[in-house]
């Protein structure tokens, strides 16, 4: 058994003291001291979220508003999404792309509005915590003169996820119940201004809620006072997103990986494909036409130990053909699962493969993702 001590000062979120008071085990993540688990532990927290409602602090993520004459059209210079066509009140998943078609980060970008249609205030973006400094530098440099960036570092970000999330939030913010998956609203709730989107990173129904930092602890405690809600750490956040087949930047996606390789063709809008006007379009359009050399797949690990990030993937003859980029034990399925990159010829569900864990070749099989079905609410 070994452990790693923290050896440098870490940033904290407005909820840091609340986590410690709940008995959280705090670890470094993206330069922040963050709760990896509470006394319930990863397994119980995971299953609670699938059955009830889990509350997550994701305030390490980068929130900002991009404003300008047309920040939506401007944002298309860095992304393959249709942001000119983003309707008020809607949100999209998208990617910051480099000139080689690799992924600088994945993100959510929204145009939140109030229920009365007012409040349209540029493009609200949420990016990964570990990437945020670089992301905003790239956006600022590339879109200089077209957009101004207001980073919302005084705001916290909560995620409320699970089949009971909607009932829980409706008691405090009634307008949230009428939102559909990927809707974004500027709402008043808990006596403060909120930016609410019906989305998340677990595959469940739920919300991400941007709140003023000074109100974060009060809102956190108010939500936790509901017996349907328990606090969930980053450990279960990772196992939940893995079961949902959702990639994690820095592990399953990086600057060398294209959206086509990453299984993210849905983020390449039809209009942008036809125009071919996004960074790395040459490579990405070629991969769409001819197929990429490798592609992200899901693996069921049929025997032995969990195959974790870095484990090699071999074909049935034992030749190494790919690598696991995320892997672990699925609490819902009670078996090991993984995301891996393999050649397209070996990417069909049902294809038998091997994963190499500590020198042992273990049977695995390509499977469709998500491993656990998504339960998004598209028609509230």
């Amino acid at each position: 058994m070994s452990s790693t001590a923290l050896d440098r000062p870490l940033k904290t979120t407005p909820l840091s003291e609340a986590h410690v008071a709940l008995g959280a085990r705090m670890v470094e993540f993206a330069g922040y001291s963050m709760p990896v688990q509470y006394p319930d532990g990863v397994m119980k927290e995971h299953l609670w979220t699938r059955e009830n409602a889990g509350l997550f602090d994701v305030s390490h993520m980068g929130q900002a508003r991009l404003r300008g004459a047309d920040p939506f059209a401007a944002f298309e210079a860095l992304t393959p999404g249709d942001f000119s066509g983003l309707k008020p009140g809607k949100q999209r998943y998208s990617l910051l792309l480099n000139d080689d078609g690799g992924i600088i980060d994945d993100l959510m970008a929204a145009r939140p509005i109030s229920p009365d249609g007012t409040g349209d205030d540029g493009l609200f973006v949420v990016v990964n915590g570990a990437c945020k400094e670089n992301d905003f530098e790239v956006i600022g440099r590339t879109l200089a003169g077209q957009v101004t960036i207001q980073r919302l570092e005084d705001r916290a970000l909560l995620a409320l996820q699970g089949p009971k999330a909607a009932q829980v939030l409706a008691a405090h913010v009634p307008e949230a119940a009428g939102m559909a998956f990927m809707d974004a609203r500027a709402l008043t709730g808990f006596g403060v201004d909120l930016i609410v989107s019906r989305t998340g990173y677990t595959g469940e129904d739920g919300y991400e809620i941007s709140v003023p930092g000074e109100a974060a602890t009060r809102i956190w405690n108010t939500l936790l006072a509901d017996e349907r809600v328990r606090p969930i750490g980053l450990g279960a956040r990772d196992s939940l997103r893995l079961e949902a087949g959702l990639p994690l930047y820095g592990h399953d996606l990086d600057e060398a990986t294209s959206p086509v390789e990453g299984g993210l063709n849905f983020a390449l809008s039809k209009r942008r494909r036809e125009a071919g006007d996004f960074p790395g379009a040459d490579r990405i359009l070629r991969e769409l036409a001819d197929g990429p050399t490798r592609v992200r797949v899901g693996l069921n690990i049929l025997e032995g130990a969990p195959a974790r990030e870095g484990a090699e993937v071999a074909d049935e003859r034992g030749a190494v053909v790919g690598v696991v980029t995320s892997g672990g034990f699925s609490p819902s399925l009670r078996q090991a699962i993984a995301l891996a990159f393999v050649p397209p010829a070996l990417a069909q569900p049902g294809t038998p493969l091997k994963v190499l864990v500590r020198g042992k070749a273990q049977a695995a099989e390509v499977t469709a993702t998500p491993f656990v079905p998504h339960r998004y609410v598209r028609k509230p």
Binding site: M1, S2, S3, V36, Q37, G41, V42, M43, K44, H46, G235, A236, D238, S239, A305, P306, R308, G328, F329, P331, A336, R358
Partner: protein, 121 residues
């Protein structure tokens, strides 16, 4: 029962040592989902990686607290890894080792010393 600073325990009966991980270690790991125990016949040296215990989130090495030859492994853990959480210092044992130098156990902490060590962690 003697303990290491890496949170393994040893009980020596004759020249056979039963080895596992402490209740503290099991609690820190959380729900154990997989255990890889050493093969019978393997020679192990004190301080070397000896077994692997995995939670939902991560794999952790378990180090041999004492040198010798593995004479029995707890194969029950393959089908019930949760035994490590339920009874870490009893039926959740990992392996039995025929020790090459019984005096090595004198270097390990007794429970009072281990608990004092935990208080410093």
């Amino acid at each position: 029962m003697r303990f290491t600073k890496d949170h393994e325990w040893v009980v020596l009966e004759g020249d056979v040592a039963t080895i596992g991980i402490s209740a503290f270690a099991a609690e820190q790991l959380g729900d154990v989902v997989f255990v890889e125990v050493p093969e019978v016949g393997k020679t192990v040296k004190a301080g070397d990686p000896f077994a692997v215990v995995e939670s939902v989130k991560a794999a952790s090495d378990v180090y041999a607290p004492i040198s010798g030859e593995v004479v029995e492994s707890n194969d029950e853990l393959a089908s019930s890894p949760g035994t490590v959480n339920a009874a870490p210092e009893a039926s959740g044992w990992f392996a039995k080792v025929r020790v090459s130098d019984p005096s090595e156990i004198e270097k390990l902490m007794d429970r009072a010393a281990y608990e004092a060590f935990l208080a410093t962690q």
